[in-house]
Symmetry: C2
Subunit: 307 residues, 2 copies
Amino acid sequence: MSVICLGTMAFDAIETPFGKVDKIVGGSATYVAYAAANFVTPIQQISIVGYDFPQGEMSEMKNRGISLDGVEIIKDKKSFFWSGIYHMDMNSRDTLITDLNVLEDFNPIVPDAYQGAEFLMLGNLMPKLQMSVIDQLTVRPKLIVLDTMNFWMDVAIDDLKEVLKKVDVLLVNDAEARQLSGELSLVKAARKIIQMGPQFLIIKKGEHGALLFHEEHVFFAPALPLEEVIDPTGAGDTFAGGFIGHLAKTKDISFENMKTAIIVGSVMASFCVEKFGPERLKEISKQDIDARLSEFVQLVNFDIDLV
Amino acid sequence: MSVICLGTMAFDAIETPFGKVDKIVGGSATYVAYAAANFVTPIQQISIVGYDFPQGEMSEMKNRGISLDGVEIIKDKKSFFWSGIYHMDMNSRDTLITDLNVLEDFNPIVPDAYQGAEFLMLGNLMPKLQMSVIDQLTVRPKLIVLDTMNFWMDVAIDDLKEVLKKVDVLLVNDAEARQLSGELSLVKAARKIIQMGPQFLIIKKGEHGALLFHEEHVFFAPALPLEEVIDPTGAGDTFAGGFIGHLAKTKDISFENMKTAIIVGSVMASFCVEKFGPERLKEISKQDIDARLSEFVQLVNFDIDLV
């Protein structure tokens, strides 16, 4: 069962109240892949990097069953670079630098070997590029998951709305759900967004968990209360990777199984934030993941007698 | 099984983005009692009101099994009055007016008929008054639940710390937990606060749900995603009323049963916010409560296979 993953592979400079890194590997497709590869392989990357993206990181990915056939390497340009600083609450941040570099020329090409993939994860990118990948696939995947952000709602809303018509699951945060729908209530926002195309909507609320909407159903998964959050960068992408990884592994895209997939996504995100960059994701084992899944069951499990 | 409830019975003027009321019955003990009386009676109020508190409201309370023997009526003074305006997000508010009125002279007396109560709910009030009620009880209740707020941490922290040593459950919001402990991480905050006395700590996060901490355990209950929140006033008190009401009804103060009690509290709070004041709490039936409990089970229930 293969998963195609479109997104950035990049460098980040990050400052949080708990520390600072000047240059660390990042990018949406990096986090998605490291998370999803725990559950299913191959993860088939579609991305673009410059001459400076570390060979060692690419070897690490390949060793984990992440295919880089769809990753273009531009010999005379640098990789995409983002720099940001988090506020004390760790839920909000300011962008300091965005150097597009190789992203300026990105024209994603789906390798022949990727055709027939049953799962497609469209990481946060320009909606036109997300649409281009959908259009190139000769067989529509069983499930298309779209991540996006407020920036594209500001500058490319028409393109985004076209992509929305083509996908099954949309991932946004609460502010983005409000912006996209024009509704303050998340319940009303969800109803409007589902009418735009995606049958399933996941609203991420950071440390406050995530909501899954489908038809008239709603499911809530908390974030694991953590002693220390070191760096939230990539947590949303990691969540997406765990989510689609679990669905691809179990080959079941029902609402019921999506609930479980959201818990798996939350578990993966809870590891991600424990270190800067994707470092923690490279350390954990299946045993670590299972132990934390058990913590989640404890966290939300209760008995109720309605008699 | 009786529950003593100490707190205010008062008037509020409230403005939210969705409407405005100039004078409506409120007060912590009012909300607690209306919520708890759905599960157990008598609820034995200890409060103080002025000549202006409506006779009709007191009759309504008595009809629901709420004893007012401990409610002092001051003939020449007005009831406590609070006025506030909510911000757009409904999670924060500004106080416009606080007229203490009868509260200036409040010296709570526990009626003889209340002695022997097994549950004590200490609503948000000056810590010295909360302590006075504990001291007057000839038999220590099976469970003492304390609600408080940042204001008492600012002006009466020593008194508050003395009360904390005497109670079993503390209810605060996330900002208050951080203030009381000096810790940013709620997990660390909980560990410190539990060392101050209460074996159980509930951290309320408004629309983001509530956390229950006990020893090394943690349980999370979401708030029900609602289409419309009209007025959050009293939601925390209503939560407390549902919580202690369920515990008193089931006569079980285990951690496991407290999880269920928190769900019940969240259910009651979800009704409270649907109308201004405690109006919605007076309309609902056991059937309404059970239906919403079922919604909660749907909201958080998932299957996970750890194999």
